[in-house]
């Protein structure tokens, strides 16, 4: 009996200390990781969907409340505004949809009048050579000049219908977010 208590106590203490240490490291690295993620994952896509701006969309980014997740925590969406001479040209925001093999993250550029400047696939884990073709310009370029009211009336990639649906869902999510928050979003971006 004494053995069992000792085992439980020692293992419990080790786990407790480990948990505290991990929580500490997590706190310290939270911000650098967020920065790296924006710089390495989002920045190339932001630059791909926005053009002709003279500000720094990454520096001028702002967050918008985007409802709550399943656990009831607040979720925010990061918006990247592109301006020229202080005038808002377009905003870039991301959406996510379920692809063939996990989530597909898509950055969508939208002009103030609701026209889209284009999309760029940020992340996906679909089959290389099949699902991955949704990241090719032949497919993504079709979204240029579509509007947020009808964002996905384009040809899908044959043989990759799950991946195509994932991208559609992601683009629709971004468009829906834009439409339902348009006033607030443009007001914030215009500053």
């Amino acid at each position: 009996m004494k053995d069992i208590i000792k085992m439980v106590v020692v293992l419990g203490l080790i786990c407790l200390v480990a948990g505290l240490a991990l929580a500490g490291v997590r706190q310290v690295t939270l911000e650098p990781i967020e920065y790296q993620r924006i710089k390495n994952v989002m920045e190339p896509s932001v630059k791909a969907v926005l053009s002709g701006y003279d500000n720094d969309p990454i520096k001028d980014r702002f967050s918008m409340p985007a409802g709550k997740d399943k656990k009831g925590r607040d979720v925010s969406k990061t918006v990247f505004p592109a301006k020229k001479g202080g005038k808002l040209m377009a905003v870039a925001l991301d959406g996510s949809g379920k692809g063939f093999n996990g989530a597909i993250g898509v950055m969508v550029g939208i002009m103030p009048d609701g026209k889209m400047t284009g999309i760029s696939i940020m992340s996906h884990s679909d089959t290389p050579g099949i699902g991955s073709r949704v990241a090719e310009p032949v497919f993504t370029d079709q979204f240029k000049k579509k509007t947020v009211d009808d964002p996905t009336s384009v040809d899908g990639v044959s043989g990759a219908s799950y991946s195509t649906k994932g991208v559609f869902a992601a683009v629709q999510a971004a468009a829906k977010f834009y439409k339902s928050n348009q006033k607030e979003l443009l007001a914030k971006a215009g500053q």
């Binding site: 000792k6 020692v10 080790i14 480990a18 991990l22 490291v25 690295t29 650098p32 790296q36």
Partner: protein, 197 residues
Amino acid sequence: MGLAQEFTKGLWKELPPFRLVLGLCPTLAVTTAAENGIGMGLATTFVLVCSNVLVSLLRKVIPGKVRIAAFIVIIASFVVIVELLMQAYFYSLYQVLGIFIPLIVVNCIILGRAEAFASKNGVMPSIMDGLGIGLGFTISLGFLGAFREILGGGTIFGHHIFWSGFEPMAFILKPPGAFVCLGLILGLMNIISSRKA
């Protein structure tokens, strides 16, 4: 054995991937370039030294029956710390190594050293043991990575070293190429050590 020997044994006699043929999963998977191999090796070394120190310090406190569970908790914590730090400060390396960072938890070298060495020895020998084995692992992965990068990509640390018409053997960078290269190196090391004996 003295402290120096605890250190040097990891460099030849107990060189993990090539002499003990341990830890082959990362050895085969991430060595497509010298830089990746060295990054993986250093991450593993950090975890190995830290876990050796803690296991050695706690060796009299941890009851024998739950020692493996305790070791795994210690190792896994350090792996998560490495993963977070790498994500925060070496993001491009993190993207390349990806899933193989969390898999350091089940790297048999680390659990093996905790069980076979650190749980029976003091802190200083355990540090030397961890450093030696870790350095040996890093050098092995770096060497295998450089070997594959040169033959398979015609580059070393990203710099081109061959003439412009050089056609790299892309096969070497694929998984079967990893086995071929590992086999060649193992054979070479066997020849050298049998000459020595």
